[in-house]
Amino acid sequence: MTTVQAVALCVVALAGGAVVLVPDPLRQVFVLGVFGLSLTFLFFAFQAPDVALSEIVVSALALPLIVLAALRKIHQHERESEQEREER
């Protein structure tokens, strides 16, 4: 195992732990993006550039966007049900 690979493995382990430890979902999305970038680095270090290419877009863009949209929808829902309660 080369030094680069060892460093990549450690960074992935740390970033993965960080994702779990963030309590606020909104901030968690961004930490998740950073975790994805570290995974990209890992795949690249292990000579899998094909996988790294997919991972960089999926983790930095596709997944965060979907989670952000879902979070916004949940907030909307909460706000609407609050309004309905006030109207009653």
Binding site: M1, D50, A52, L53, L61, A62, L65, K73, Q76
Partner: protein, 253 residues
């Protein structure tokens, strides 16, 4: 269970689990130890018999192209399922999406951000096209390039202008793109049945290795998958963002 009992249980079970894990890891093969036969055969075979320099693409789009057919249709079905469920939630049929009341831009977008939104889409689409077309030569191919292609229109979203995104990637075009990609891949496979008597068998000249048009029908398969993947991602994003940004704006009940 109180916190103390749980902690005690963990202190009891934790070391046991650690010991078993260490024992298990000691029995693993050494790092980088590879005994697979298939990989070595493909390594010796992809360049000479398929004229592709990226063996992952050779595997995806020629040697095991049938697996890719399955993968592609999994994605197709998943995207179609998302669209179906989310449209059902909105109580909407096959009709066009409702016109949003106002432009969802956020006022604080600076000039730098605006120019970035203008620059990003063409750059990303160009890069995606490059990755798709050079699948047989360098790392990349239909799946990777398709995701990059789909990211292009999203560049317009960095200023929060969802309508600009929808203008670059209209809903009907996205749907057509996805269906076209899925259809094209199946048809390329049928071509193998007609010209080479086997489904998804190569029937085009292999060309000179390292040239853009090499690897037989790999570039075509790559393009078909690229269209399908970008269409599927754009469709899922459009449905999610429609839910989050347009529908449920308060006039529904």
């Amino acid at each position: 269970m109180s916190r103390r009992v749980r902690l005690g249980l963990f202190l009891l079970a934790g070391p046991g689990l650690a010991a078993v894990l260490v024992l298990g890891f000691r029995g693993l093969p050494a790092f980088g130890d590879y005994h697979g036969v298939y990989g070595r055969i493909v390594d010796n075979f992809a360049l000479s018999a398929r004229h592709a320099t990226d063996f992952v693409t050779a595997l995806n789009f020629d040697i095991r192209a049938f697996d890719t057919l399955g993968e592609e249709y999994i994605l197709f079905a998943a995207a179609a399922g998302v669209a179906l469920v989310l449209r059902g939630l909105r109580e909407e049929g096959e009709g066009p999406h409702p016109a949003p009341p106002q432009q969802h831009g956020f006022a604080g977008a600076s000039d730098a951000l605006r120019s970035l939104a203008l620059l990003l889409p063409p750059l990303l689409v160009g890069l995606g096209g490059y990755v798709v077309l050079h699948g047989a030569l360098t790392p990349g191919g239909g799946f990777q390039g398709g995701v990059v292609l789909a990211a292009g229109p999203l560049g317009a979203l960095v200023t929060g202008r969802y309508l600009a995104f929808k203008r670059i990637a209209p809903h009907s075009a996205v749907e057509a793109l996805e269906a076209l990609g899925a259809w094209a891949y199946a048809m390329l496979g049928l071509g193998g049945l007609v010209f080479a008597s086997r489904y998804l068998q190569n029937y085009l000249p292999l060309g000179i290795p390292t040239h853009l048009l090499s690897g037989g029908f790999m570039p075509l398969n790559s393009i078909a998958v690229g269209l399908e993947v970008s269409g599927a991602f754009l469709l899922v994003w459009t449905e999610f963002l429609d839910q989050a940004l347009i529908s449920g704006r308060g006039d529904r009940s």
